[in-house]
Symmetry: C2
Subunit: 324 residues, 2 copies
């Protein structure tokens, strides 16, 4: 059995992880998997989430704990462990740092949406939220598009400045800028990715501001969280979701659905686009070019990404070999 920690996970080619996300959508489309509903175990204020999933070669269980008071004790509120096993023999194959794995897979879910939804020649993009996930979104965005100017907005400008400094040295060809306001960022960018847990929309509810752009909401994962104003959902020509659960789990969809601003039948599974991508003509067509993608994640993404990480680790002699 292998242990694959965050340093080794960071060494995996991002293109492989992007490809693993694409594989997950294909498995989803072909119904070639077993994925029970996420299991919630409550212990007082604390939650343990168990996310098992099977496909033909591998099965995996991600264990995520959410301890809201842990930061007061100097620990992160969310921790995770991923276990990967062989789906022929049942033998455990690997244990991985769940947080690092989740950061990469969520980055890649956003990155694949960028690749499939945006025109190849876009030159401006903005990321709202400069946490771990915001940085992952920047990396997977830049894996897919040659962006000239990348804007970052964060509630705390100091955090945004620190992130921009780090990213600028990682990507010397990109002109990174800290946006003074989220409205300014949206105005200046063709593509806007939000990775926040905001309970109120992060920019103005203005249809003119959002028209003709691609919006990707990564952060909101509960019905009380809503990153984007209603203008996005009202203006968007197409609304895509990673899984059907997205409409229940995230306020960015559940709230407009409850208010009748959008109907469930208008939500399109993103997996259909993975098989039949938008053509260049469609991407240029004004009747098509305001797009909204909402993802909440699923165990199938974790499974295919963990498999890719494991296979990369085997091939490149990464990880710690454990006597099992």
């Amino acid at each position: 059995m292998l242990y694959i920690g965050k340093k080794d996970i960071a060494k995996v080619d991002r293109s492989l992880i992007l490809n693993a996300i694409s594989n997950a959508y294909t498995l989803l489309l072909d119904e070639n998997y077993t994925m029970p509903d996420r299991i919630h175990v409550q212990n007082g204020e604390n939650t343990l989430l168990l996310m098992p999933c099977f496909e033909s070669n591998y099965f995996a269980t991600k264990l995520v704990s959410v301890f809201p008071d842990a930061p007061r004790l100097g620990a992160p509120a969310v921790n995770g462990i991923m276990t990967l096993a062989d789906n022929k023999t049942g033998m455990p194959l690997a244990v991985m740092d769940g947080a690092a794995l989740t950061a990469e897979r969520t980055g890649a879910v956003g990155g694949l949406a960028v690749k499939i939804l945006t025109r190849e020649n876009i030159e401006t993009a903005g990321v709202i939220g400069a946490g771990v996930q915001g940085v992952a979104q920047v990396r997977y965005l830049l894996l897919n598009r040659r962006i000239k100017q990348m804007m970052i907005f964060n509630r705390s400008p100091e955090t945004a400045r620190a992130r921009v400094a780090g990213l600028a040295s990682e990507y010397p060809d990109v002109d990174f800028k800290v946006a003074q306001t989220a409205d300014g960022l949206v105005k200046a960018c063709n593509l806007v990715v939000a990775a926040t847990t905001s309970k109120t929309p992060v920019f103005s509810n203005d249809p003119e501001l959002v028209k003709g752009k691609t919006f990707i909401s990564i952060g909101s994962f509960r019905p009380d969280m809503k990153e984007f104003p209603d203008a996005v959902i009202e203006t968007a020509n197409r609304i895509y979701v990673d899984t059907p659960f997205a409409s229940k789990e995230a306020g960015d969809l559940s709230q407009p659905l409850a208010q009748g601003l959008v109907k469930n039948s208008e939500l399109i599974g993103f997996s259909s686009l993975v098989r039949d991508p938008l053509t260049d003509e469609q991407k240029k067509d004004p009747a098509f070019n305001t797009l909204f993608f909402k993802c909440v994640g699923m165990a199938l993404f974790d499974l295919t990404v963990a498999s890719a990480v494991y296979e990369f680790a085997l091939k490149n002699d990464l990880g710690v070999k454990l006597d099992f």
Copy 2:
């Protein structure tokens, strides 16, 4: 985070593991834990069992996979991984070999029953079933009682002979014997432990054979499995169970309950004995001295044993330190 494999688990003092089982019963009695029902995930013929449990200092999830066809591919049918975390901060503390941990904890559940139910001066004991669990039962039995003659019966006498050879060199003061029949073993022994998955009773249904002895059933864990004949349940003065689930999960209880040979109200939680053990007088009293203990296990045992293993590993610098 530590990885604790089977070699390191084998180094842990058995008395500490026995003590951990006793602690689990105390937590059970005081209702000082959170333990949801075992979660079954089915994927075709294969099963994944998820067993989370919380107490004040630690929480743990055992993941067990059961792949009935794996032996045809040269792999064990059952595999397991144990994860242990800090219940204050949520931080992962250890990953362990689940099979090795389960073997020790189940050995200790039997061993604690031996310690609490039998007279201190018993000199003969028998174990039926010479698999991994049979051997664990022998070891925890000998931790608690100075047995002169220990009999082993197994469906395949070759396996029994091989086990006896190994155990004889491990315990040179004990006279190990391979029993020719299970009836012969029961006749010769004060204490009988069964660790089989038999669907039919392993010895004769004869009240005279079982009278005055202590019976411990470790193996049966499904309603279609029954190790002991009805004579045991009909003759026993007291019937103890590790958890209330035992009456549903194991044929040794569910079948006689369904037939009306015993009532649910006659089953006694073993945890009450951990707090108020039988006195020496009670153990000698003929109105008390045919005893039956049935265990099916629970996540709380795994949790307290994993905690003890982790603390022992920390103190003795065992395990592989993983960068988390």
